[in-house]
Symmetry: D2
Subunit: 134 residues, 4 copies
């Protein structure tokens, strides 16, 4: 399994009138986590786009257990279980600074050609970068 | 089944560099849909909060089939299958102006007391408003 | 003067933990207002982009007088005083449903060629559409 | 003058279909910058709120010179010229990793009592923290 951790502070603009982070922002935290993971693996998402492959999200799921608040620092854990072929599945967990599990989720990405917008296989550079870290 | 439709245009700030609506925004469209549904049913979410009950999201799932783009007008369909007790489950579908199905999803809400932040039952006014529309 | 009104309800995800609409969202309301104004004038922004001209924002200013809250419906007033040449200046005012002035602002847009990303003149179709409505 | 630097990577969800960071996000970067500055000065914004003072934004201005893109790391510089009394003015500059100036701006904050929502003076702890760093 490839596993990656990244920390981000809660931002004021991410809170809502319940006084907690708005639930939609965790989908963005997941993106931050996988984006940083890909960058650390040498295959940043913007590089892949430049090389003609885009990674649209095809499914998201998220379970909310505890809330995050202003002042919290979140630990985003991103995990990949198997080398992607047609799709890439990333599991995510988000913890606060007291190591309480706030949210679990998973995101499925596809691969499409930037020009034709048709599905393609996972680029070899990405598959290799992941395989090496399993 | 309670069913509600609401239309919103895509906003420029909702697009991303793939030239499509960023996937996180559909979670916000779901919120717009259920919020308008509740308002039309006479139980707006801000009224319920004033009366001491908040509705945090406890789970979200979303499947993305086709993309929305600037210039599109989206139809958000929100559906409730059964009168809520401890939780409220809302299924959502989002279509574009050509009636193509873009996204399906479901959101589960809990009910908590605003002061104690402890789980409570679905407020009677909300359960009644839904029951009446089933 | 060209003048345009458009109404939008406040969305839950736009609120913050002060219980009011987060200040950054008014910049987005300004965009909604001018986007709808341009669409009503027959020159939607996405059409201009397709024809090769993009309209990046070069300056924004905003003064906040009163807050908007969940449950409010906002009236976005967008105004253009003179036919654009190198730049387009749009003044904006946002009112709530009690016609209280919440925010005033102004946004300056430039015109650039989508390919070269160099400044160009205001497209004739846009200048004409505005001139006709002055 | 009190001066503070903070670095943030551009996030994918902050880009728009022009392929650059959407202009509204710089208002959020300003908030990140001043929030981190206040935290480093020992007076985090959420602490001030707990003690009964909220800091609503009363004015914002922003000039955009160059665009930020996915892959960029931004340096947010926040500056305070004088110890706040009724208002606090923070000047901001945002640079990319090549130290090119992208954006300049300024944000004016007021101070209000959380309960009465009426204007109050700048809390002494905040004025002292700033005075000490001038």
């Amino acid at each position: 399994m490839m596993r990656h951790e990244y920390r981000v502070p809660v931002r004021y603009y991410e809170t809502d009138q319940m006084g907690i982070v708005h639930h939609s922002n965790y989908i963005r935290y997941f993106e931050i986590g996988r984006s940083e993971m890909m960058q650390d693996a040498g295959v940043p998402i913007e590089k892949m786009e430049e090389e003609g492959v885009m990674l649209p999200v095809v499914a998201v799921e998220c379970r909310y257990k505890l809330s995050a608040r202003m002042g919290d620092t979140l630990k985003i854990v991103s995990m990949i279980d198997k080398v992607p072929m047609a799709k890439m599945i990333i599991k995510s967990e988000i913890y606060n600074q007291r190591d309480e599990l706030l949210v679990t989720g998973s995101v499925t990405l596809g691969f499409i050609d930037s020009v034709t917008r048709r599905p393609v296989r996972c680029p070899q550079a990405l598959a290799d970068a992941i395989a090496k870290r399993m």
